[in-house]
Each structure stands twice: as structure tokens, then as C-alpha cells.
């Protein structure tokens, strides 16, 4: 029984199926593309956030020259080979507002070393004051970190207990981090900083080992955690005052620059989506203008028997939004299926572009689904507003005059 506008709208949609299908196909393609690409972008952001949050630091102090390599280091795990004096770490520790500071040494593995596959990002850290890897070690292993131990990234193929050798220094895989989607961590091998210095020495003395740039008593960067209430600009100023050769990077800077990289990659997709959305809104507009024109008499009769202008407006918008909402649901299903089918291929191509990717959590996907539905709803409203405005201007008297 049809006793409401929404049911009448639903009933009206049953008549012209072809138009319904055209809108269904058009809008579901747009929503499918929108949903799938927003999951991809959210996945990339999520991977970055997740990876960067593991850093656990508010600031990263590095040599100025390293900065250009920072983005690629974060995304792909390619380290910088610029170093600074270890005394900087001690100076930073003495500053007001610093809670923790820990030095790290970055280097790349030499291909050809025993048991090494490709290049790995090697990070020497100091277990006595580290606050990035050690919390994980304590939480997962509940133990102190052995001098020859190595914690390997989630992308590296080694198992616990595997013996590795970098620049002539043997290490044993002691733990493996879960995958983060961020190159810095997924391809990294973390070990005691003194092993890093040992590698530097060995590479200088042993002619069979590829020589490293000497970095004895030097560090690649200082990770800094601030005290509560400490002001980043003030700390930055204090650090740089005596060291113009350094650069202070906040994690916010890193995230922004990483985001810029991914946004640039997906700019094309966004442009495509905007064009698709606009063309679909125009299509809905054209179809509903034709619908209103065809149903002038019908709408005039409704006005005559008591429909207010508002009711007529709502009827047209209801019809349009019902189709676009249905298309939205269909589009999400299509988008989801496509993502499922091409999941591996997408990840493969993203990795070729050095872009990390992990599926975001269910609540983020649910939020994106809701956004896609809202988008479908907006498309329905914006596409039918003009035809609905035309419809409310239909003169019921014209209806009576017709056919006389």
C-alpha cells in the first residue's frame, strides 16, 4: 500500500527500468572507484602512520645533508650516509625539556655478504637508552637484548635463530618486527650500536669486506622525546643555536612529506573521480529533467489533489537518491570485490613505486563506506535539485487544460 512519498518514489522507479540501470551503472562505477581508491589511500596513510608511530620520537636531529634522503629512507629504507659527532647527543641530553635522547647509526648492508639477500637497512641502536626498539623488546621478549642479537623487519626473509653476517660481523636473529608497510622498518635490521662500530672498523682493516665510510664514535641521528609541556620551536632553537650543520625534523614534518608523496601519486585518481562525479551529476540531472518533462501531467495532477511544492520537490529528490544510494551500495560491493581480486597486484605495483600499503582497520573501512554512501546521496540530491525545482513550478491548471 502506497501511503507515503518515499513509497510513491520507490513505486515510480519501477516504471522506467532503462534509466534506472543507466544511473545504477554510472553511479556504482564512480562509488566503486571512489571507495576502492580511498581504501588504497587510507591504507598507505595507515601504513605510514603506523610505521612512523613506532618511531616513538617527537624530534629527529640529523645532519642537514641527510634531509634530502629522509623521504626515501622512510618510504624505501634507503639510508643516508651522513654522520655527526656523538657529542651532539650528550649536548641534547642536557637541554631543558628533553625527556629522552638516543643516538642511532644508519648504514646499508653490502650485497654479497654471507646470508644477506639484497640490501637491508642496518640500524645500530644503544639498548641502554633506546626508546624506539627496546619497549618492543621488553614487551615481546621480556628480556635484555643480547650484544650479538638482531631484530629484523617484517619484510626480511629470516627466521629466529638465523645467523647473519654484515661487514664481517656475525649476528643472530633474535626477534622479528611485524610488518608495518614502511620501508624503514620492514627492511631494517636493528642491532647493538657497538656492532655497528665494529662493522666500520672491520671494513677498514679487512680487504675482503666492502669498505664503509668511517663513522667510529659518530652517529647518523638523534631521536628525541620531549618532556610534557616542552615547546618544539624552543627546543629546536636550542639545538640549532650551536649547530647550524644540523636539522631538526618533527614527526609531523615527516608525515606531511610522506603524505605529499602519496597525494601526488593519487592526484590523478582524484582528478578522475572528480570528473566522474561531475559527469554523473550531470547525467542524473539530464535523466531526471527528462523524467519531470515526461511526467508533467502526472505531477500537475498531484499538485491539484493536494501535493505541496515541497512534496513534489521531495518526491523527485527521493527518487533520485534512492537510485544513487542503491548504486552506492552496489559500487561498494563492486569496489570491494575488485580490491579483493587485485589486492596482490595493487600491492606489487605500489611497491614498485616504493609506496607502502597495508589494509586499514575495519573501522576505517566502515568509515570510508559511510563516506561513499554519503557521496552517493549527495550526487543524488545535487543531480535532481534542478529538475525538482522545475517540477514544483508545474502549473496544475495546465494539467486540467490538457486534453480538452
Amino acid at each position: 500500500m502506497v501511503t507515503s512519498l518515499s513509497r510513491l518514489a520507490y513505486q515510480n522507479l519501477q516504471v522506467k527500468h532503462l534509466r534506472l540501470y543507466i544511473i545504477l551503472i554510472g553511479v556504482s562505477i564512480v562509488i566503486g572507484v571512489l571507495f576502492a581508491s580511498s581504501i588504497l589511500i587510507a591504507g598507505i596513510y595507515y601504513s605510514l602512520e603506523r610505521g612512523l608511530s613506532k618511531l616513538g620520537a617527537d624530534l629527529l636531529v640529523i645532519p642537514k645533508e641527510s634531509l634530502v634522503n629522509l623521504k626515501s629512507a622512510l618510504l624505501t629504507g634507503e639510508p643516508s650516509t651522513f654522520y655527526m659527532d656523538r657529542s651532539v647527543l650528550e649536548e641534547i641530553r642536557t637541554l631543558k625539556g628533553i625527556k629522552k635522547a638516543s643516538g642511532q647509526v644508519f648504514l646499508t648492508s653490502a650485497t654479497g655478504d654471507c646470508c644477506v639477500v639484497g640490501n637491508s637497512f642496518l640500524i645500530g641502536f644503544d639498548p641502554s637508552n633506546d626508546f624506539t626498539v627496546m619497549p618492543w623488546v621488553v614487551k615481546k621478549m621480556g628480556d635484555s637484548f643480547p650484544d650479538d642479537g638482531a631484530i629484523v623487519g617484517g619484510m626480511l626473509p629470516w627466521n629466529l635463530g638465523d645467523r647473519l653476517k654484515f661487514f664481517g660481523v656475525p649476528l643472530t636473529v633474535w626477534g622479528q618486527l611485524e610488518r608495518t608497510g614502511i620501508g624503514l622498518y620492514d627492511n631494517a635490521v636493528f642491532f647493538h650500536i657497538k656492532k655497528a662500530y665494529e662493522m666500520s672498523e672491520k671494513s677498514q682493516t679487512d680487504p675482503s669486506i666492502q669498505p664503509l665510510k668511517p663513522f667510529k664514535d659518530k652517529i647518523s641521528g638523534v631521536l628525541v622525546q620531549l618532556s610534557v609541556g616542552a615547546k618544539i620551536p624552543f627546543i629546536t632553537f636550542s639545538i640549532l643555536k650551536g649547530h647550524p650543520e644540523l636539522k631538526v625534523v618533527t614527526t609531523g614534518n615527516i608525515q606531511t612529506s610522506a603524505r605529499q608523496t602519496t597525494v601526488a601519486v593519487f592526484f590523478g585518481v582524484m582528478v578522475l573521480i572528480v570528473v566522474l562525479v561531475l559527469s554523473n551529476v550531470l547525467m542524473i540531472n539530464a535523466i531526471f529533467s527528462a523524467v519531470v518533462n515526461e511526467r508533467r501531467r502526472e505531477l500537475g495532477i498531484m499538485r491539484a489533489i493536494g501535493a505541496t511544492k515541497n512534496s513534489i520537490f521531495k518526491l523527485i529528490v527521493y527518487e533520485s537518491t534512492m537510485v544513487t544510494l542503491l548504486s552506492g551500495l552496489l559500487g561498494m560491493i563492486v569496489g570491494g570485490i575488485l580490491l579483493k581480486i587485485f589486492h596482490r597486484t595493487i600491492i606489487f605495483y605500489l611497491r614498485l613505486l616504493n609506496i607502502p600499503f597495508m589494509l586499514p582497520p575495519v573501522e576505517i573501512i566502515a568509515g570510508l563506506a559511510l563516506l561513499a554512501i554519503i557521496m552517493a546521496f549527495i550526487m543524488g540530491i545535487s543531480g535532481s535539485t534542478y529538475p525538482a525545482l522545475v517540477a514544483i513550478r508545474i502549473d496544475p491548471h495546465e494539467t486540467m487544460k490538457q486534453g480538452l
Binding site: 500500500m1 502506497v2 499538485r303 491548471h397 486540467m400 480538452l404
Partner: protein
């Protein structure tokens, strides 16, 4: 006189380019409650424009329309729509049913736009059923307009006009395009509505068949009332030209 419906000096002027067309030229009308009036006239005589103005569908250029003392054209669009929905049942010429709705839902269409009606769906269904039974359409509840004959479509339109229990029925050529037998059936239905349902009826037509059943006949020509016949039998005897 019971001024249930009062039309005072109604005038409708259309402007087409520089041309001024006077469709209705100052017509006054008093319709008592329960009356059954037929407005006769050729095409272009102004009869449809006149009942459009009386029914609140087209605003007069000059003049007033009062129904139960309410100045119709003093109401805003929303109030006027509600008034039409509640007080007036409209019956149009052919093709006035919604093709997407079956007979039952076509009859219930005014309910969609009414405030009161959505409450009791069962009562509404039984009311629609009862009206359709009175019109011998009970077996066509689930049929669609395309499956009905012209006469049946007209009956459904009549049932629709009655569903909100209005006081007034305005019909524009309700027997147009019907064969003689069906035309007489429809006219008989109108007479019953007037007598049994006690509705005030104004019918616009160019068919003389209505004169046998109407209580009053108004003949219009060139936007003016040419004759106002209290006893329609008179015109049957003498013609109206």
C-alpha cells in the same frame, strides 16, 4: 442563499506576447451546499479556467473565490494545497491515473499528501475498497491503469476524488472520449455521489447528456455566462444556442 461556494466577478487574463486574452470575463457564481452544477460550453469558452479558479488551481486576475467563507486566494501555496487535498476532489479528463500504481494505490494517492490519513492503513484500505465496491471496481484493486478500459479508469479517478471525503467534487470533462453507454454510467455515478455521498458537484463538459441529471446548468460562451438555467429540462426542450 447558502453561499457554500461563492465566485465573485472572476476574471482571468492571459498575456501572450503583446496580446491580452480574456479567458473569463467577470463571472459570478453562488453554489449552495449539495448542489450539482454542470457548466456547458464549447472549447475555449472559459469553463475549465473558471473551475480552475474555483478549485484553487489558477489564480484569478480579478475577483474572489470563497469556500465556506474562506477566501481561497488569500491562502499561501501550502495552505491552499492542504485545502484542496481536504476539501476538493478533482476528476480530470482521461489519463489522469499514475501508470506506476495499481488501482488501490491510485485511489489512495491523495492520502500521501494529507496529514491525517497515514495513521490507520487498514481503515484506509477498507475505505478505498468500499468506494471501489460502490463503483463496481472491487475486483480490479490490483490492476494497473493500462489494464483498464476508459470507463474503468474514470471510475478509479472518481474513487480517488472521494478517498479524503471532500465536500466538493470538481470534474473536468469526466465523460470525454467515452462511448454513450459508458458516459451514461459515469453520469449516473455522479448523480449517486451527489445524492448518496451528499457532495457538492461542479462538472465542466460540452456534452448535453449531463443536463438530465444536473440540478443546475450554466452555459458559457467567450468567457461569460450566457445562460444560467435553474431547470435543465428547459434547455432540453428549447436548446441552448
Amino acid at each position: 442563499m447558502d453561499g457554500f461556494i461563492q465566485a465573485i466577478e472572476l476574471q482571468k487574463i492571459y498575456h501572450v506576447g503583446n496580446q491580452k486574452i480574456e479567458a473569463v470575463k467577470g463571472v459570478s457564481l453562488q453554489v449552495p451546499r449539495g448542489d450539482f452544477i454542470v457548466i456547458l460550453g464549447h472549447s475555449g469558452s472559459g469553463k475549465t479556467t473558471l473551475i480552475s479558479m474555483i478549485g484553487g488551481l489558477t489564480r484569478p486576475s480579478l475577483g474572489k473565490v470563497y469556500i465556506e467563507g474562506i477566501d481561497l486566494w488569500d491562502l499561501g501555496d501550502k495552505e491552499l494545497s492542504r485545502f484542496r487535498n481536504k476539501k476538493i476532489g478533482f476528476i480530470f479528463q482521461s489519463f489522469s491515473l499514475l501508470p506506476s500504481l495499481n488501482v488501490l494505490n491510485n485511489v489512495l494517492m491523495p492520502v500521501i499528501f494529507s496529514k491525517k490519513a497515514k495513521k490507520d492503513r487498514k481503515a484506509l484500505q477498507s475505505k478505498a475498497h468500499s468506494i471501489l465496491s460502490d463503483l463496481n471496481m472491487a475486483d480490479k484493486l490490483n490492476s494497473y491503469p493500462s489494464e483498464l478500459s476508459g470507463g474503468e479508469q474514470r471510475r478509479v479517478a472518481i474513487a480517488r476524488s472521494l478517498i479524503n471525503d471532500p465536500d466538493i467534487i470538481l470534474a473536468d470533462e469526466p465523460t470525454g472520449e467515452l462511448d454513450i453507454r459508458t458516459e451514461h454510467e459515469v453520469i449516473e455515478i455522479f448523480r449517486n455521489i451527489n445524492e448518496v455521498y451528499k457532495k457538492t458537484i461542479i462538472v465542466v463538459s460540452h456534452s448535453l447528456s449531463w443536463m438530465q441529471k444536473a440540478k443546475k446548468v450554466i452555459v458559457m460562451k467567450d468567457g461569460l455566462v450566457q445562460r444560467d438555467i435553474a431547470d435543465p429540462v428547459e434547455i432540453l426542450m428549447g436548446g441552448h444556442k
